[in-house]
Each structure stands twice: as structure tokens, then as C-alpha cells.
């Protein structure tokens, strides 16, 4: 099973993460951690005309959590921020190619999406509280 998880692409994103670092002009920055394993993810977003103009993440943790965050940034770069609400658990697991993770490790894979969804809601909460509430309600759960 581990051979399926720790494939080249996961190790590559773990060791050479894309879009990792700070984003000084971020419109919104969100932090969360997974108390189970202590994985930490910060996501910074620059939004322009409702689109994710730039996204950066910082974090530390296992290969799954960090590779998943790295791949998520590539997945949503340039997309409408509101589209984040439609991203599901399966979208993420499909994106990183890990569909058979156990319940404990799934949380690692989904931490960055959880943070990104929080970021989406926070961004609109500061600007348009009604639509933030709506986005939160409509957002696909994890």
C-alpha cells in the first residue's frame, strides 16, 4: 500500500513544493492545524475581480499534507474564488491520486482544502457578509 502512496509525484511535491512561501500583499491569510498529527498549513490569497490571482502556502507536516497543499495551489490558481465551495473530498483525493487512504490519513490530505475554504469565507466575510454566509452554507463539506 505504501508503494501506492509514496509515488514519485507525491515525493516531488513534498520535496519541491509549488507556490510555497509568503505573499506580502495577500488579501486574506488563514492558518489551521490538524491536532491529530500537528500538521500545519497557512494559505495566503491575492484576489482580483473575484479570481485567485495568486496563492501561496506555508506549512509543515507529512508528505501527504504538504504535497496535497502544493497540488491544491496549482489546481485553483486563476480560478474564481467562489469555485472553491464546489471542491469536494473526492476532488482532492483524485487530484493527488490517493483514493484509498485510511480515515486517519485522509485528514492529512484534506487539511489544505479546509484552510482554503476557510480563506474563501473569511475573504467575503470582510467584504460581503451575506454572500460569505451563503458560501459557507453551500460549501461542500469534508
Amino acid at each position: 500500500m505504501s508503494d501506492d502512496i509514496y509515488r514519485e509525484i507525491i515525493l516531488d511535491h513534498y520535496r519541491n513544493p509549488r507556490n510555497k512561501g509568503k505573499l506580502p500583499e495577500a488579501d486574506v491569510s488563514i492558518h489551521d492545524s490538524n491536532p491529530l498529527c500537528g500538521d500545519e498549513i497557512d494559505i495566503h490569497l491575492k484576489v482580483d475581480g473575484g479570481e485567485i490571482k495568486d496563492i501561496k502556502f506555508e506549512g509543515r507536516g507529512c508528505a501527504i499534507s504538504q504535497a496535497s497543499a502544493s497540488m491544491l495551489t496549482e489546481m485553483v490558481m486563476g480560478k474564481p474564488l467562489t469555485s472553491v465551495k464546489d471542491l469536494s473530498k473526492d476532488d482532492i483525493l483524485g487530484n493527488i491520486g490517493l483514493t484509498s487512504l485510511g480515515p486517519a490519513r485522509i485528514k492529512c490530505a484534506l487539511l489544505s482544502l479546509k484552510v482554503l475554504k476557510l480563506g474563501m469565507v473569511r475573504y467575503y466575510a470582510d467584504r460581503d457578509p451575506d454572500s460569505a454566509k451563503k458560501l459557507q452554507d453551500e460549501s461542500k463539506g469534508l
Binding site: M1, S2, D3, I5, Y6, L11, Y14, R15, L36, C37, G38, D39, E40, R60, G61, C62, A63, I64, R105, C108
Partner: protein, 415 residues
């Protein structure tokens, strides 16, 4: 199977049904997460079953036969616990849910009555969260201050720092782990207690990792409080033990109010029960306390000196083998004289959770994470570690399987 010193491990393993099961397909279970919880021998499982099958009843009150039998079994366990740690009397033994609740009992009862503004509570950087958070809560409530004794790079407490803190004459309580659940360091608690008592300061010893693995004598140690857990020493979950010196316990206000901890209740006042019942409000975990009795018998039959001897042998073997694996960083003392059967490490850039997943493929159960010791993780400047921890039923062959899985992890991560 190799002989392991004076322990007949092969025979012991037969007493633990779970050790026969397979995991991750058809791999034999290699259980190396004993610092988290230990497996249970059949005698413990049967004792619990026997209680529910044959004499299930509430204790201390009813006069029917079932209640008498249950009360006797429950109180016999208390006697065994007292003898196991050499307490002066059963009045000094309080049953709680776990070691965490035992420490909280001291914080809420003794702490609220004795800790005042600007007092210092002295703990250490190796503590489990259960010996940090209750004191943070208490300090916040009282305006007291929490102070930490540091740990050096070899995993030893900086003993000279005790003197400095104790000399301020502001320390109201010293609380310290007898054995680190991460580093395995066995702390010289006798010295700490002597130094603290010279200043008239009581000491709480967190024995969660020591009492299951070595002979612990509370009178010899002279600690004022000691907390430990049944489930880390072959017993069931849901049973903790708090030992408190009688002269201190007599002055402590109650913790949980309710049934069983009272003598008389009137509309606006209550006369509390005698020790130790005053601190055991509500129906206790009768079945599991009775199960714990069988666990103590099991350990007494083996002898705690032999338990310790066996673990030293396993730990030496593990340290020697793991030191030969390229890329490994090992934490804690190298000498098994001051180290229990706990081996924490990291390997290359493999995160402990990834390593534990790979280990699991090989049937090896280890722990990965911060081990409820985030203050120590910050001190070590790591997010997490992997930890293998041993007990009476583990063998050198199992450690070799674990080392084999470690090499497999290196292959997968190409290091």
C-alpha cells in the same frame, strides 16, 4: 524464539490473545506502542467478564450478596495498589478515570486551596500535556506563574535550575514526570523531592510511564502526590490512580461532589465521607478497577525487577540496531541506566506519520506525532517524532522486524 533474560516471553505471549492476530493483510502484529497503552492478558479480560457475568452490582451501599462481593473485589484492588507502590495505607489511594484526572484532582482540590497570586508552580519541558494544562488553568485562575526546568541536548533535566527556582521561595508546588514518554529519560525524582522538601515544597510525580515498568516505592521516594494509569500496565482503560500522603489528603477539599463521597447530606450542608472515599464521587468504574486487580497480580507474578531487566535488554538492542540505520536522529539518553523502554527518533526528511503508515504495512504499530508533549517538541525543534515503546511481551525479533520496515521506508523515500 530467543530467550529474553529471565523472562519467558514465549509463555507470556500466550496470555495475550491479541498478539496472535494479523494486521495489514497477513502480517503478524508487532505492537510497539506500549507507552500509549499496553495490551491486556486474558486474566484481566476474564476478571471483567466475571464481574459482569456473576456479581455485577453497585458497591459500598447495598447489603445484598452481589454488592458485598463487588465491594470486596473493588476494595481488594485498592489494597493491591497500595502494596504495589508501597503506600502506608489504602486511605492514600484514590481511583480516578486516568492519570490526567488524577493530576487534575490535585490541581482543582489542593491547588485551589493552596496556590495564591504570584506563587510559582514548577514543572519541566519534558512534561506530557496532562502535567502542563491543569497548571496553566490553575495559574490563570489564581494569578500564579508557571515555570519550566529545561532539558539538555542529551535528554536530561537541567538539575541545577531547580536550585535557582527553589531559592526564590516562591515555588508552591513542584510537579515532574518520573519518566519521559518521548525521550525515555528516567528523572532523578528522589533528588528533586529532597531539594524541594528542604524548602517545604510538596512534589507531585507523574508516574504514568514509570510505575508500569519499574519498582516504584512512594515511601522511599517520599513524593507527596503520584499519578498513574492502569491501562499502561496491562489493566483496562478508564482507571487512574492518585496517591496522596494522608496528612495532605486530610486537609484537601473534595473534588467531585455527589454520591459515595458523603456521610450525611442535609439541605444546606454535607458531612464528607472518610478517606479515600471523599474523593470518589459517584459510581466508580467498578468493572475495570476489578480488572486492574488481575493486571497487578500478573505483574507481581513476574516481578517488576524482571520487567525492567527485560526492557533494558530490548532497549539496548533497539538503540544499537537503530543507530546503524543511515539518516536516523535518535532522541534521549544513550545509557539504559537512565532510560526506559522508549525510543524516539526521526529519519531523513520522512515525516513520522508517513513512517508510521509504512510501518503499518509491515504490521508494526508505532506511534508518531507530538506524543502530547508539544513543549518538548518545540524544545527539540521538531514537529513530531516516531516512537517505539516496549513491554514484557516484546521480543528482539520484533525489533528486527521494525528495523526492516525502517529500511523499507528509506527505500520508498529514496534516502
Amino acid at each position: 524464539m530467543q530467550k529474553h533474560g529471565s523472562l519467558n516471553v514465549e509463555k507470556i505471549r500466550e496470555d495475550f490473545p491479541i498478539l496472535g492476530r494479523k494486521v495489514s493483510g497477513a502480517k503478524p502484529l508487532v505492537y510497539l506502542d506500549n507507552a500509549a497503552t499496553t495490551q491486556k492478558p486474558l486474566s484481566v479480560i476474564n476478571a471483567i467478564r466475571d464481574y459482569y457475568m456473576n456479581y455485577n452490582s453497585n458497591i459500598h451501599r447495598a447489603v445484598h450478596q452481589l454488592a458485598e462481593e463487588a465491594t470486596l473485589a473493588f476494595e481488594t484492588t485498592r489494597e493491591k495498589v497500595a502494596k504495589f507502590i508501597n503506600a502506608r495505607s489504602t486511605e492514600e489511594i484514590i481511583f480516578t478515570r486516568n492519570a490526567t484526572e488524577a493530576i487534575n484532582l490535585v490541581a482543582y482540590s489542593w491547588g485551589r486551596a493552596n496556590v495564591q497570586k504570584d506563587d510559582r508552580i514548577l514543572i519541566t519541558e519534558i512534561e506530557h500535556h496532562s502535567n502542563i494544562v491543569p497548571w496553566q488553568i490553575l495559574s490563570g485562575e489564581k494569578g500564579a506563574k508557571l515555570e519550566y526546568i529545561g532539558v539538555d541536548d542529551n535528554g536530561y533535566l537541567k538539575m541545577e535550575e531547580y536550585r535557582k527556582h527553589l531559592d526564590t521561595n516562591k515555588v508552591r508546588l513542584v510537579s515532574v514526570s518520573h519518566m519521559s514518554n518521548v525521550l525515555g529519560t528516567i528523572v532523578p525524582v528522589n533528588d528533586i523531592i529532597r531539594m524541594s522538601h528542604e524548602k517545604g515544597i510538596p512534589v507531585l510525580v507523574d508516574g504514568a510511564q514509570s510505575v508500569p515498568h519499574m519498582k516504584v516505592d512512594v515511601q522511599d521516594m517520599d513524593c507527596d502526590f503520584m499519578a498513574f494509569s492502569a491501562h499502561k500496565m496491562l489493566g483496562p482503560t478508564g482507571v487512574g490512580i492518585l496517591y496522596v500522603k494522608k496528612e495532605i489528603l486530610e486537609k484537601m477539599p473534595p473534588f467531585i461532589g455527589g454520591g459515595d463521597m458523603i456521610k450525611e447530606v442535609h439541605k444546606y450542608e454535607t458531612r464528607y465521607n472518610d478517606l479515600p472515599f471523599k474523593f470518589e464521587g459517584g459510581t466508580p468504574n467498578i468493572a475495570d478497577v476489578i480488572g486492574f486487580s488481575a493486571a497487578i497480580d500478573y505483574l507481581e507474578n513476574i516481578g517488576m525487577d524482571k520487567v525492567r531487566e527485560h526492557e533494558i535488554e530490548l532497549t539496548k538492542h533497539a538503540i544499537q540496531k537503530i543507530s546503524g540505520v543511515e539518516g536516523v536522529t535518535l532522541y534521549g539518553p544513550r545509557s539504559t541506566d537512565d532510560r526506559g523502554g522508549v525510543v524516539s527518533f526521526n529519519i531523513g526528511d520522512i515525516h513520522p506519520h508517513d513512517l508510521a503508515t509504512i510501518m503499518n504495512d509491515h504490521g508494526v504499530a508505532i506511534r508518531s506525532g507530538h506524543h502530547c508533549a508539544q513543549v518538548l517538541m518545540e524544545r527539540l525543534d521538531v514537529a513530531a517524532t516516531s516512537r517505539a515503546s516496549f513491554y514484557i511481551y516484546n521480543t528482539k525479533e520484533e525489533i528486527d522486524t521494525f528495523i526492516g520496515a525502517l529500511h523499507e521506508a528509506r527505500r520508498l523515500f529514496k534516502i
